[in-house]
Amino acid sequence: MIFVAVGTQFPFDRLIENMDDWANDHEEKVLAQISEGEYLPAHIKWQRFLDGEEYNKNIREASVFVSHAGMGNIISAREQQTPIIVMNRQYKLGEHRNDHQAEGLKWMGKLDGVYTASTKKELFNHLEHIDQLIVADPENKVGSSELSSYLANFIKTGKR
């Protein structure tokens, strides 16, 4: 199963339409969270919004998570140990108020287990090789706890 999510703030019809096209040509089941999008997919089971529990369950069970370029979803994909493909909303297509998601792709693409796509072609290229997409090393999760304990020690002792 592939889970697709566009976040809650804005629609992202281009991504949903792309995934609907892909689903039309492939056997794999696709589920999508489409927010207030106008495009209603024909080959994908969709919902506008999901509760947090179902959302995380879908990410966990997906072979790959296809998402808008949002930081929250990258973190969730890491936590659920699922590879993620992110596509950026584009300002010039009226998909966002600015182009910060295009900027986001630059750092997101440096992370293990995160794949980036700006176009339908790039998105489909990743989907051609779903079984080769890797997840982030779970050891990397240590990074976050190391940072928090370093900060706790600094607050208590003032020592770096």
């Binding site: 976050s144 940072l147 900060l151 706790a152 600094f154 003032g158």
Partner: protein, 154 residues
């Protein structure tokens, strides 16, 4: 429940990615510290019902006229909460807070956003001389003296 013996820490961030990162860093600290979260749009931001979240005015480099009300709100929060330390992931509200407490005995910790891969954020560069600790989430940006790398939220 806030406990009397826990040190108080203010955690300040703008909404969106800054707020998500602040929570990733500070939620694990809630067992050790009394964390008070401060953010514009606090009414939408509480991820857990037991968190204390205070609302402030949003301000950025493009809305300078909001800086004065923001500064007054922050000062009032400092007086009321009397924190031991302030942690911020950015952007403008955190930077203003750091400048305001420069001469107070409050430790200031800047954790620059993971989005800043090749250069520290503009707000980080603004506070770098004033902060007690500046953290980058990308090793190449660390100088191991003033700018420290200790892993990232991811």
């Amino acid at each position: 429940m806030p406990e009397k013996n826990k040190q108080k820490v203010l955690a300040i961030a703008s909404p969106g990615g800054h707020w998500i990162q602040l929570n990733k860093i500070c939620n694990p600290l809630e067992t050790q510290f009394d964390i008070v979260y401060v953010t514009p749009g606090a009414q939408y931001s509480s991820t857990k019902s037991n968190q204390k979240v205070l609302n402030i005015t949003d301000a950025s480099a493009t809305s300078k006229h909001k800086l004065i009300p923001l500064a007054l709100q922050l000062l009032w929060i400092f007086i009321r909460e009397r924190p031991t330390a302030i942690i911020s992931t950015g952007a403008a509200p955190g930077a203003i807070a750091f400048l305001l407490v420069k001469f107070l005995p409050i430790k200031t910790i800047w954790v620059d956003s993971i989005a800043n891969v090749s250069i520290l954020s503009r707000s980080a560069r603004m506070v770098i001389k004033h902060a007690d600790l500046v953290i980058t989430q990308w090793q190449p940006l660390s100088d191991n003296k003033k700018i420290i790398y200790k892993g990232s939220i991811l």
